[in-house]
Assembly symmetry: D2
Homo-oligomer: 356 residues x 4
């Protein structure tokens, strides 16, 4: 299915090189003013060609809203929006028609459907994250009214060998993250990451990385036990992003080597409020927010499309080689930052609306 | 919601110390013979009290099927089953009524619902995984008929400081994993893990760990692009297990520091079949299986209930301390192994049924 | 699927002659006191053997709650309940194993699943409405707290040739309807209906009929436009009742011969409130309640099981005859009255919870 | 929600006077050739201005497909399509901004959402059925490949006082129905209906009517027991059409006055096949098709918008009057015929895909 959510549902559609991509956001609260400049800003953050570390493909990514708004205010009806595809170099992909790119969805998709839109990855392209950013921007605008104190900030926490110090996660701000092309709030590290990416570009190679996301201001009591746990919904959403390989929240995989006495977050009173001394839990206990900041991390694999020659096979089963010619990001991580934030906003809004 | 799945849906219910726990499995194929011995075996693997490394609580966990079977064969109608709760020491929990256990769901649940079943964690108890094992056993039985070659094997890959070597993941068998109490297929390591758990029990502490799961024999073409990606569905299911803190598939978080040229799985022909030279992808590309073994890992935090005295607060906001008196596992990981396998079977069966 | 609802979901299970039938009600508000006497009363109203006009099968229909309650108060966790099947004369059904009863689900079910629980109709038995009445009773109890003024009253409005006057629909009360065995609030007509049913029983025949339902006190603004219209959700629920053949709301099929000038409900002010002069609309406009009483009618076919000899075929395709020997209602309509009310309560509660 | 279906899901969006209306059809089988001429034909059948008996609003209703197709063939990805709104006389609706039209959704919608798109009914306009016809056309094209023998034919069976003879339902063909402006296959009756509509137009009034639908060639075994019964799904879909007031299948409301001995459909052998002597059941038993033609009828109320002066109230609670000035159908029934067929095709395709 290409729809998700319980109360707030998002359906997306579109392929990389078809006429348009877009989405339908349903269950969105009525009476929210849609600030189209903010939406455009979020699209701008995601789109390729925004800096020297990303692909040269230039897309205006102009969002057209088709429904659900009256004089710029949401009416409770489904909000549909489209983004026309432009600046397509489909001919770049002609040779892909009859072969399977390594570590791409080409082969798996063809096994699933017996047919495949080979132009630029079709439905498997990272371009499908654009509608998510539109919908996410709308969710953020809803929160401005519903929970003004809510703040969702994601940043690049790893690129190749360069990682931020997790113990400083709570120090960073969105301004710090947005101050450089790789969206790493640790400026010194950011320079190294940029340099690394340029180097890889020269070597016709790519790199993986991680995005960390911090949510402040989420009230306690949001989420569900058992199947629709807040962390489980976040995990599903994040693993749906192209190239995502892992998700962890709170101390995550590091918890595996911890002891209970070290991991547990002791409750204590502070100014008459229940709070916790530490936040190894990452703001979620038993599927439900506990009022502490929500903290999670998403791992991304290196962009599979690289300029280097790789071995692969054709659709009719002959061995061959491929060396990508199109314009490709050596690292998707900086562009994934707004996608992570957008999905977080959507998941949280759905859970807030259904936890009432 | 306490229901999940698209075609095959599982609804579970029940609290740790209520009359019974159970589930309803709907959309299950008709004509499958339900081998109740196999179901009992799976329950036996999950239940507490099975070895010296787990809690002493003795539960028979006898499964009663209430519907959907005619002479032991599934009819296509929903299969309901219950397990009566027994051997409850509710009085162990009396003091929990008015305080919040650190890193438990107590506080978050009460914020969510304004009321909380404090007896043994209620709906937040690990006991809710019992119905999942029943349903998972049924899914495994369905696969015996639908895809006989399918093999789902999970094992303990980490407990505290002791980890198996990921490069040997494909060497292990279910028999090796089941040959010791911690379910670690590396026998030497298993001994160290057991010793470590005994030591922690003495120290009234607990430890985290990891479970790795390998699926062999899944055909290519199972899964969905974008929102219901196979890996995203697995992630959501796994993060729904009590104490789970992270999920990764294929090379997972390690991918973040890899290069594309090193991570990509080159396609090649082998005996006239398309296969890949390596399997960094973990058997899934673009949300759909590619015919290679599916491989993923789940991280678990240390059991939050420990005998040591911890600081916490009462429901009416006074500082206090707690030291658990009940019977508790110092490590949930070995018992999580059959839960991981069960959820995998359920997710895969749902995706197989809806990928037709 | 055997689950329905968006926020409040009901999953039911069970066959007529299996160990038990039951359901799981999820998304039910926390903090509702469950009055088990009221639940028992609703079960009593539905169950067979309650009067001389219904089947002689005696069932205690004792409801056992398995989860979701703490000291009789809902906790927000799924509420599971079961009713053990008793007083089964399975041998009555032995001869049905190999033939298809006319106008029953036997043949269609076997075509769907390739297997069929032939004992008493299995999953197709009217017994599946028992869990609906349990869940409906819980929904009514929730409304006592959420919308105390809400009143849902259904009654028998037609049995065979005897119909109540639709223009008097708003005159009847639940007390009037419950004062006789056929649940027809028009006492004179009720006597004729009872007599008719007794006559049919002697003739080993059966009859159809209609149930009308009136909902008072539902606030304006409950429902959804387009796909989840309030009337559409009611229609789906009602057509799910065994033997239901039609649904209409407001003036229903009579609207087809009306003119707009005659059907339209003019708005007018009354005591400073917006109201309508008439209620041809049946309290719903464009899928959403308008604050007027909701009024709808459900048609039921005659019980297909009759004592008279009927022509039919066996599973292996030979012509044969059948004359029912079991105990069967000559008319299901009086027993359908609480089922209609229960489904109405469930639909309304779901829509109220999701219209917030 | 504005989405429906289990495997095949349709999400629609758009308001009468917004930029565009459209839909997203997901779960559609891959490999179906989309004949755009056929889609255009179906749109042509639904659109206003097609004859003298319908509104004069001229809309080209040009469908633009945005995704899910490669060289005109479905790929398994979601198929999004839009229809730009044209020829809007929004000024016709200016006076509606501050009052509630009788028997329209205006008041109820405003109570639901606190805001309302007053231009031409917004989301409550019959224009929302256009995307349903696009999606329905695609479903019909899928059936050409999956079940070529399937035939879905709907026709006008009543307009005001003029009704076709139900006993002749099986005699009519699509060609007969399409041979006149009112889509009534009984030519003589059609003339009377047309005359009646012209008369009403002069009198600035409107009329209700009925559509009957016959499905031939549906195999036995399609549908579900209990909650997703085939008839229940059809009922929900049909009650979702603007102005629909009732649904009945088989003998429907007439069953209420029948006896079992008269209503039951005896099974018998015919050419080695199991069939029924009669079809009072309307092709569905226990929620599942039995291989006989499916037959149902939908009632529609008179168009609420009439030229005559009617009493109503303003948004701020003053009494006032209204006399519609826009262009409006005196009878929606002929245009509802393709909508009924489209929804039938969608429901059946979903059930066929999920009954596998």
């Amino acid at each position: 299915m290409n729809t998700w959510g319980q109360i707030l549902t998002l359906t997306t559609f579109g392929e990389s090189h078809g006429p348009a991509i877009g989405g339908v956001l349903d269950g969105f609260p009525a009476g929210i003013t849609v600030d189209t400049d903010f939406v455009a800003l979020q699209m701008q953050r995601r789109r390729p060609g925004q800096s020297t570390v990303t692909t040269g493909r230039q897309e205006k990514d102009q969002v057209e809203f088709l429904s659900g708004l009256l004089d710029g205010v949401s009416t409770g009806a489904p909000i549909a929006f489209i983004i026309r595809n432009q600046d397509q170099h489909s001919s770049d992909y002609d040779e892909l028609k009859d072969l399977f790119r390594p570590s791409h969805a080409d082969y798996a998709w063809e096994q699933r459907y017996g047919i495949r839109d080979w132009r630029g990855g079709g439905r498997s392209s990272a371009r499908v994250t654009a509608p998510i950013c539109v919908a996410g921007a709308l969710a953020m605008l809803a929160f401005r009214k519903l929970i003004p104190a809510l703040d969702i900030t994601a940043f690049t926490s790893q690129i190749g060998p360069y990682s931020t110090d997790p113990s400083k996660d709570m120090n960073w701000t969105a301004v710090m993250a947005e101050s450089n092309a790789v969206r790493c709030p640790d400026g010194e590290l950011a320079s190294k990451m940029e340099e690394y990416i340029h180097e890889l570009r020269k070597e016709q190679d790519s790199t993986g990385g991680c995005v960390t996301c911090i949510v402040r201001g989420l009230p306690a009591g949001i989420g569900n036990p058992v199947f629709d746990k807040l962390e489980a919904s976040l995990a599903k959403a994040m693993l749906g992003i192209n190239a995502a390989k892992g998700f962890e929240y709170g101390d995550g995989f590091a918890s595996a080597s911890q002891r209970g006495s070290e991991h547990n977050d002791a409750f204590r009173m502070e100014n008459g409020q229940i709070t916790t001394a530490t936040n190894h839990s990452g703001g979620i206990q038993g599927g439900i927010s506990n009022g502490q900041p929500v903290r999670f991390r998403v791992a991304f694999k290196p962009t599979p499309t690289i300029g280097r020659e790789q071995h692969t096979v054709t659709r009719n089963g002959s061995d061959t080689t491929i060396a990508a010619k199109g314009r490709h990001d050596p690292c998707v991580v900086p562009r994934a930052v707004p996608v992570v934030e957008s999905l977080t906003a959507l998941i949280l809004l759905d859970q807030v609306l259904s936890s009432k």
